[in-house]
């Protein structure tokens, strides 16, 4: 099933990239960034999976001695944990910028922002 998660994650990454490059509405582009984030997290967690492994939490069923044989890799999970929270912060920042841009021009169309075009 890690293959399915990996394939889904890659397809979601490609879909997010497609949304970023072809949509014209600013909010739609930010949705694309959000999807891109989710896809990358799916790929990272899928790569960290070990066949037949359990969650990296040791208790009475998974004792300390045979932990190394039974758990999945905890390191990518810890990194994805922080990455999700940062993703929320970055999404909120992009939305604040979009709000500001809409206030300046009165539209969300990306084609009407030509101030830095040359």
């Amino acid at each position: 099933m890690e293959y399915i998660a990996l394939g889904t994650g890659m397809l979601v990454i490609l879909a997010g990239l497609w949304a970023i490059m072809t949509r014209k509405n600013l909010i739609r582009i930010i949705i694309g960034f959000s999807l891109f984030d989710t896809g990358i997290h799916l790929v990272l967690v899928a790569i960290s999976y070990v066949k037949g492994g359990t969650a990296p939490i040791l208790d009475s069923t998974v004792c300390i001695q045979d932990a190394a044989q039974r758990i999945v890799d905890p390191v990518p999970q810890a990194l994805v944990l922080t990455a999700i929270v940062i993703g929320l912060g970055v999404t909120a920042l992009m939305l604040a910028f979009a709000m500001k841009m809409h206030k300046e021009k009165g539209t969300l169309d990306i084609r009407s922002f030509k101030d830095l075009k040359w």
């Binding site: 399915i4 949304a19 909010i27 739609r28 949705i31 999945v72």
Partner: protein, 93 residues
Amino acid sequence: MNYLLITSIFTGVIILVFTFIAIYQKNMVAAIISTGAVGLFASLMYLVLAAPDVAMTEAAIGSGLSTFIFFYVLNRIRSTDKKKSDSVKNDQL
């Protein structure tokens, strides 16, 4: 066929369908809700992949808080548009 494999196949298909809706749905509210649903089903996928910590974070943040921030911004933009009476235009892009 074990149950985890079937669950992961279903979850993957649902994630891809909601991704498609989020990109191509004309109605912006439906697109934002689909983005939240992608996060929710991704958290189910994390649970299948034995990562309960990541699943909890994604369920609370990806499908809860970020959806609300999107809606606050959409509401604000609509209320500004309404005064200029060209509110329909932005939804159709």
